[in-house]
Amino acid sequence: MPETTSYRQSPLAPLGLAGQAASGLNGAGIGVAEPDFRVLLDLRVELDKQPGAQDAVEKVLGLRLPETANTATGNAERHALWLGPNEWQIVIHDSRPEAGREWTAKLREALQGIFCAVVDVSNAQAILRVTGPAAREVLERAVPLDMHAGKFQPGEVKQTVFGRHCGVTLHLLDDAPTFDIYCRRSFAEYVHAYLKDCARGACEDFAVLEG
C-alpha cells in the first residue's frame, strides 16, 4: 500500500489557518504562514575529527555545513542551520511523506564509517514563517535577543527562548524581513497565539498568510 499524503496533519492544522488566510499582508505589520511539509534532519558530527564528513554531506545535499556560529548555508531548496559546534539542522524542501526517512538513509549511507548521528525530526518540529515590516518589532516581545536590523541579519540563525519555556530556532531569510521560526511540534499553537498577542501589544495588525 503506497503512503498517501492526504493523511498528514501539520502542527498548526488544528487552528484551521488555511481557511483564514488572507491574500497578503493587506497593510498588516506582520503575517504568519505555515510552510508546506519539509524534511528536517538533525546532524551531529565533529568536523575536525571526521575529515571526510563535509565532502560526504556535500555529495548528498550539494551544500557544505556552516562552521561559523549562528549562520546558515544553502540555497532556496536546502539549508544547513548551525545549531552548535557539532550540530546542524538540515532543511530540505521535499514534502513527500517518505522523504524524511529517505534522506536520513541517504545521508547515513554517505557518512558510513564516520562517527555521527543523523536523525529524522521532520515531524518533531513546526515551522512558522513570520514576515512583514513589523516582524522585528513583534518578535522583540517574544524573544530576549537583539532584533535590530544591524544585529540580526539575513542568513543568520539564532536559538533562544520564546515566551515562557519554549526553545526556538530563528532563521532570518531576507530583508522583508522574513523569519522561519522552528519550534517543537506541540508548542506550535502556543507560539502562534503568543505572536498574535505580541502583535496586539505592538498595536500591529496580524495577518494569516497562505502556507
Partner: protein, 1000 residues
C-alpha cells in the same frame, strides 16, 4: 470660584483645554497639563488624605514621586488603581479620585481617635500587642488591615491587557532632566543606540519648574530643542511616562511605561502599560534629587510642603499653593522658592532660617526683595487642624538643641520647607554601586560603580546647573565611548551655577518640650513615624539602622522612605551621638515606585500563562468529551465520560473494557531519546541498572535509571533499532530532565564515549492498543507485519505499514494485557487514531485516559516514578534488586552499598487489600501497625496509589511500608477521621501474576 488659586498667566498648562474631574465625589476643574495634585491646589484643596496610623489630616506635600501623603484611589470598578500619588496622576477629563485612608469621610475621620490615644500606639505596637494568643491572629489581622487600609484592590478580573517587551541599547539614560538630556544628546550624536526614559509626560525635569536659563534662553526651551534633536535621530527611543524602576545584574533594566492611564478615552485595543526589559551596554543615571523635609513639631499639617514643590506649583502649574507663606530652611537654595512665590503674589510672612549666619546669593536676593530673614530661628510649633494657620518661631541656642528666646507667632497658610537635598541614588544602589556619605551635602552620593553605569547631575551630588549639564554631556560621551563609538566633544551650554549651599545640618528642630512630650515631630509621613518613635527604638536596644527601620517602619510603605531615610539617620545620629557615616544606610530595592501586577504578568496570563502542549490526536479527544489532566505542560486525556457518567463510572467502564476486549491509549507524550554511536550500549550500561550489551536489533528491554544517590529517577523501555542505534523511552514528565542528566554525563564525565543523543519525543505519535483483541485489530490494519506470537514476541518491535502509513510497532505492555504500542510519524497521529477507532468498533474499542492507565498498571504492580517513588526509594525498596547488575558499574551503584540502603526496615513496596472490599484508601494515607486512640502513633508507611478495580472487584492499593517485603500477610491500619481502615499487606501484583496475558 473655580480654580481660585490659579495664577493669571504662565505655567505649562493649556488654558484652552479645561478638564473636569471629581475628588471625593466633588466636581472640580483643572487644565490639560495639570497633575491631580496641581489641579486640587488650584482649587484650594490642600486636605487630601489621612495619615496611616493616627489618621491625621494630611495635605499635598511634594510635586513628584516622593509624595507620602496624597495617596489616592483612581477610577472605579475592575480598572481602579490604588495608592497612586496625586502628584503623579496626570489630569484627564472625567478622572475620579478619592482619598484612600479615611472612614467614613476625609473631613470627618473616625480613626482620628488614634491620634488622641497615640500613647497606646507606640512604635513596635503590632509586635507588642498582637503576640498572643496565636489563634487570635486572623481576627487581629482583619482589624489591622481594616484600620490600616491603603486603598482597595478590585475584586474583578483585570479588564486591561499589558504589553511586555525586550529592548537593547548602547546607552540607556534614566531621567530626562538637564543631565539626562545632555547625556542622551552626547551619546546620540556619536551614533549610539539610545533609550531615554523619564517618569513624566514632558521632558526637562527640574528645568520645567525653575527659572534658569541655558545658553541665554529659558531652560524649558533648551529642553524642547534637545528633545527635537533626539526625536529626529532614528537611533534614539524616547520613553515618556516611563519609570526606570529596577536595575539588575548585567545591566538588565526594568522600565514601566504608562500608555493609557492618562487618557480620558482609553483605547480598547491598546495595552494599558508596557513593561520594558532592557539590556543596556552602558547606563547613565540622571535621576535628579529629592528635597528633604525638616523635622519639627507638627510638621505634617496640610499646607506644609517642600519648598521645591511650592516653587514647582507656582512656576510649572501657575498655582498659588497659599496666600501667605513662611519659608523654613536650613540652606540658601530654598530662597529661590520664596522669591518665585513672592513674584507670583504670595505674601512671604518671613523666612525662618536654621543657619545662625544666613548668608548666600539667594538669601541676599531675598533680603533685597524685602523678605524678612530670621536667622538662627526655627519653627517651634504649628497650629491649624485641616490646614496650617499659624507657626511659632523662636531663636535657637548656639548648638541648635534648644530654644533660646520667646516664640513669635506668624500667621500663614503655607509653610515651604527645605532640609537640603538627597540625590536619587536608588538605581545606582540597586545595581550594587556603593554609596559614600558627603559631609558637605549631608547625604549619600554614589561612590564606586559595580556595573557599567555612571551617575550625572543631581543624583551624583552635583547641583549647579552648568556643572549638571557638563556632567551630563561628559557621562553621555563616556558611555558612548565605552560602548565602542567615537565621540566628538560638544561645547558645554552656558548656564548659571548656583548651588543650594551654604547650609546648616540640624536634624531635629527643637520645640518647647522634649520630643514625645508635646506634639509630633514627623520623620516618616507615610508611616507616621516620629522622632520620639526613633528614640524609643534606640532606648529599647534597636541601634542598627536596619533594626530601627523594621521596628518603627520608617522608610517602608509605597514611598519607600524617599523623604524620610536620611532624616531618620540624622535623628538617630543625633540621639546616639554617632556620625551618620558610621550608621550605614538601609538597602534600596526595586521597584523605585510601585508597579502593577498586570505589568509584571504581561502577556503570560490566562491561556498564555504557560505553554499548553497537545498531542496530534488532541482534537479527537476533545470531540469525544475527554476530561484532560496536566502532565508537565501536556494535556493528556484523563478519562472519557459518557453521558451521565462521573469519573468513577467512566474509569470502571474503561478499565473493564481494556481487560475484556480492547482499550486504546494516547501514549504520544512519552519521552523519546535517539541514541547513536559505537559506544551506545556501553553508555546504556552505565546509566541503567541492568545490562544492555546482549540486546539485539528488534528487541526491547525495560531499564531503571538511578541518580547518584542510588534513588530511582526514571524508568522506561529502550528498543535496539540497529547496530549502535537505540531508542530510549522516558516518563512523560521526566523527558527533559533525563536528557539533561544524560547529556551532562556524556559531556562532563565520559567525553571519551562516542555517543550522540537526540530528542525525538515529538517525532512520533503513539497509540497503545491493549486487551485480548489487540492482535486481531493490528492484523487487520497491516499486511507487512507478522503479528503471530512466535514471529512477534513480547518485548520486541517490528517496522512496517499500519493503517496505510509507516509505523514502528512495539509489543510492550504497561496495562499488563496483550498490548501493542503503534508509533507513527506525528503528522499521521490523528489518522492512525481515527483508523484504529473505526476498525476497532466491532471489538467495542474503548479509549481510556491516564486514570484508567493508572488502575491497570497498579493491578499489575507496575510503579510510576514520582508516584510510588519520591526521590527516597531504591530499586531494592521496590523489590527490583534483580534489575541491578552485579557484573558492571552504573550510576548510583555505590550508593546502594551504603549500610543505610541495606537496612531491612526501609520503606518497601507492597500491595494493600482493605478488609472491606468496598473501601478505597486515600492516597497519601499514613499506615500504622498499632492503633492508638489519638495521634501521635508510630507510622510504618504510606499509601502511594489506591483505586477501585472492576477487574479485582474490590478496592486495592500500593504502598511503601517499613520492612514490607517481609510482611506479606500482616495487618496494617490507616487511621482516618472517623474510622480506621484495616488492610492486609500483600504482593503488589494483583492481576495475572504469571504474566500469561501480556505474553499471550
Amino acid at each position: 470660584m473655580a480654580q481660585r488659586y490659579r495664577l493669571d498667566k504662565g505655567g505649562r498648562i493649556d488654558r484652552d483645554r479645561p478638564v473636569d474631574f471629581t475628588f471625593n465625589g466633588r466636581a472640580y476643574q483643572g487644565y490639560a497639563g495639570d497633575t491631580l495634585g496641581s489641579a486640587l491646589l488650584a482649587n484650594g484643596v490642600h486636605l487630601v488624605g489621612r495619615s496611616f496610623k493616627y489618621h491625621r489630616p494630611r495635605g499635598i506635600f511634594s510635586a513628584g514621586a516622593e509624595e507620602a501623603n496624597a495617596l489616592v484611589q483612581v477610577g472605579e470598578g475592575a480598572a481602579t488603581l490604588a495608592d497612586l500619588k496625586a502628584t503623579q496622576v496626570e489630569l484627564y477629563e472625567g478622572l475620579s479620585a478619592r482619598s484612600v485612608n479615611c472612614y467614613p469621610s476625609l473631613d470627618f475621620d473616625i480613626g482620628e481617635v488614634n491620634s488622641l490615644a497615640s500613647k497606646l500606639f507606640p512604635a513596635g505596637f503590632y509586635y507588642k500587642t498582637f503576640m498572643w494568643p496565636q489563634a487570635g491572629w486572623p481576627m487581629y489581622e482583619r482589624f489591622i488591615r481594616k484600620a490600616a487600609g491603603l486603598g482597595e484592590a478590585p475584586l474583578e478580573p483585570d479588564p486591561d491587557f499589558y504589553d511586555k517587551r525586550y529592548a537593547h541599547a548602547d546607552v540607556l539614560v534614566a531621567g530626562a532632566g538637564p543631565a539626562g538630556l545632555a547625556a542622551a544628546l552626547a551619546a546620540a550624536r556619536s551614533g549610539a543606540r539610545v533609550i531615554l526614559a523619564d517618569e513624566q509626560h514632558e521632558l526637562g525635569g527640574s528645568l520645567l519648574s525653575g527659572r534658569d536659563e541655558v545658553d541665554g534662553k529659558p531652560g524649558s526651551d533648551w529642553a524642547a530643542e534637545a528633545e527635537r534633536e533626539l526625536r529626529a535621530n532614528e537611533n534614539v527611543r524616547i520613553l515618556p511616562r516611563s519609570v526606570v524602576f529596577g536595575y539588575y545584574d548585567h545591566n538588565w533594566i526594568d522600565i514601566l511605561e504608562n500608555l493609557s492611564d492618562h487618557l480620558a478615552n482609553k483605547p480598547a485595543d491598546a495595552p494599558r502599560q508596557r513593561m520594558w526589559k532592557v539590556r543596556a551596554n552602558q547606563v547613565v543615571l540622571a535621576t535628579g534629587a529629592i528635597e528633604r523635609p525638616l523635622v519639627f513639631r507638627d510638621n505634617d499639617r496640610p499646607g506644609i510642603m517642600l519648598a521645591s514643590a511650592a516653587r514647582s506649583y507656582v512656576n510649572r502649574w501657575a498655582v498659588r499653593p497659599g496666600e501667605s507663606a513662611v519659608l523654613f530652611t536650613n540652606n540658601d537654595g530654598a530662597y529661590a522658592a520664596a522669591l518665585d512665590m513672592k513674584a507670583a503674589g504670595i505674601k512671604i510672612a518671613a523666612a525662618v532660617d536654621l543657619r545662625a549666619e544666613a548668608e548666600g546669593e539667594l538669601t541676599q536676593a531675598a533680603r533685597d526683595a524685602g523678605i524678612e530673614v530670621l536667622a538662627g530661628h526655627g519653627i517651634a510649633a504649628t497650629e491649624g487642624h485641616k490646614r496650617v494657620r499659624r507657626v511659632k518661631v523662636a531663636p535657637l541656642s548656639a548648638d541648635g538643641r534648644s530654644l533660646a528666646g520667646e516664640a513669635r507667632t506668624l500667621n500663614c497658610d503655607l509653610v515651604a520647607m527645605s532640609g537640603g537635598w538627597n540625590p536619587t541614588v536608588h538605581l545606582h544602589s540597586q545595581s550594587r554601586g556603593k554609596l559614600r556619605f558627603d559631609a558637605e551635602l549631608a547625604t549619600f552620593v554614589p561612590d564606586r560603580a559595580v556595573q557599567a553605569e555612571r551617575s550625572a547631575g543631581a543624583c551624583n551630588g552635583t547641583f549647579g546647573l552648568a556643572d549638571v549639564l557638563g556632567e551630563g554631556f561628559a557621562a553621555g560621551e563616556a558611555a558612548a565611548e565605552a560602548a565602542g563609538f567615537s565621540v566628538e566633544k560638544a561645547p558645554r551650554p552656558q548656564a548659571g551655577n548656583g548651588k543650594f549651599l551654604p547650609a546648616r545640618w540640624l536634624w531635629l528642630t527643637p520645640s518647647s518640650k522634649p520630643v514625645g512630650h508635646g506634639g509630633k515631630h514627623f520623620v516618616d509621613f507615610q508611616n507616621d513615624v516620629t522622632a520620639a518613635d526613633l528614640q524609643l527604638a534606640l532606648r529599647e536596644g534597636y541601634t542598627s539602622v536596619e533594626h530601627v527601620k523594621r521596628y518603627t517602619t520608617t522608610g517602608m510603605g509605597t514611598d519607600q522612605g524617599k523623604t524620610s531615610n536620611v532624616n531618620a539617620l540624622g535623628v538617630v545620629s543625633e540621639f546616639r551621638g554617632v556620625p551618620i557615616e558610621e550608621l550605614g544606610v538601609t538597602t534600596f530595592r526595586p521597584p523605585y515606585t510601585p508597579v502593577t501586577f498586570g505589568a509584571w504578568g504581561g502577556r503570560d496570563v490566562g491561556d498564555l500563562f504557560d505553554p499548553i502542549r497537545r498531542t496530534p490526536m488532541h482534537s479527537w479527544h476533545a470531540r469525544a468529551g475527554a476530561e484532560f489532566e496536566n502532565v508537565g505542560m501536556w494535556k493528556r486525556p484523563w478519562y472519557y465520560p459518557k453521558a451521565g457518567e462521573g469519573m468513577h463510572e467512566a474509569v470502571q467502564r474503561e478499565s473493564k473494557a481494556a481487560r475484556e476486549s480492547l482499550g486504546i491509549l494516547d501514549a504520544t507524550t512519552l519521552g523519546r531519546i535517539d541514541i547513536q554511536g559505537p559506544d551506545s550500549a556501553e553508555f546504556l550500561n552505565r546509566v541503567y541498572t541492568n545490562g544492555w550489551k546482549t540486546l539485539k536489533p528488534g528487541a526491547i528491554r525495560y531499564g531503571l535509571m538511578l541518580g547518584e544517590d542510588g534513588m530511582v529517577m526514571d524508568d522506561g523501555v529502550t528498543a535496539c533499532l540497529g547496530e549502535n542505534h537505540y531508542l530510549m523511552h522516558t516518563t512523560s514528565g521526566g523527558a527533559a530532565e533525563v536528557l539533561a542528566h544524560l547529556e551532562e554525563y556524556l559531556q562532563t564525565e565520559w567525553p571519551e564515549l562516542q555517543v550522540y543523543l537526540t530528542t525525538v519525543t515529538e517525532q512520533y505519535a503513539t497509540a497503545a492498543i491493549a486487551g485480548p483483541n489487540a492482535r486481531k485489530l493490528l492484523a487487520e490494519l497491516t499486511d507487512d507485519i507478522d503479528v503471530d506470537p512466535d514471529a512477534f514476541p513480547f518485548m520486541s518491535w517490528r517496522e512496517g505499514t499500519v493503517a496505510g502509513v509507516w509505523a514502528r510497532v512495539m509489543r510492550i505492555s504497561f496495562s499488563g494485557d496483550l498490548s501493542f504500542e503503534i508509533n507513527v510519524e506525528a503528522h499521521n497521529g490523528l489518522h492512525l487514531w481515527q483508523t484504529l477507532m473505526n476498525a476497532g468498533e466491532k471489538y467495542n474499542i474503548t479509549p481510556y485516559g491516564t486514570e484508567t492507565m493508572h488502575v491497570l498498571r497498579a493491578e499489575k504492580g507496575f510503579i510510576i516514578v514520582g508516584q510510588e517513588t519520591d526521590g527516597t526509594v531504591t530499586p531494592v525498596d521496590l523489590g527490583m534488586e534483580k534489575l541491578c547488575s552485579t557484573k558492571k558499574d552504573f550510576i548510583g551503584k555505590r550508593s546502594l552499598s551504603r549500610p543505610d540502603m541495606q537496612d531491612p526496615n526501609r520503606k518497601q513496596f507492597v500491595g494493600l487489600l482493605p478488609d472491606d472490599p468496598n473501601e478505597v484508601l486515600e492516597e497519601g494515607a499514613q499506615l500504622v501497625e498499632t492503633v492508638k486512640s489519638q495521634p501521635p502513633m508510630d507510622m510504618v508507611g504510606h499509601v502511594t496509589s489506591s483505586y477501585m478495580s472492576p477487574n479485582l472487584g474490590r478496592g486495592f492499593a500500593l504502598a511503601l511500608v517499613k520492612g514490607g517485603l517481609h510482611k506479606h500477610g500482616q495487618k496494617v491500619y490507616a487511621p482516618m477521621p472517623g474510622k480506621t481502615i484495616a488492610c492486609t499487606v500483600t504482593s503488589p501484583v494483583f492481576f495475572d501474576p504469571e504474566g500469561e496475558r501480556l505474553r499471550a
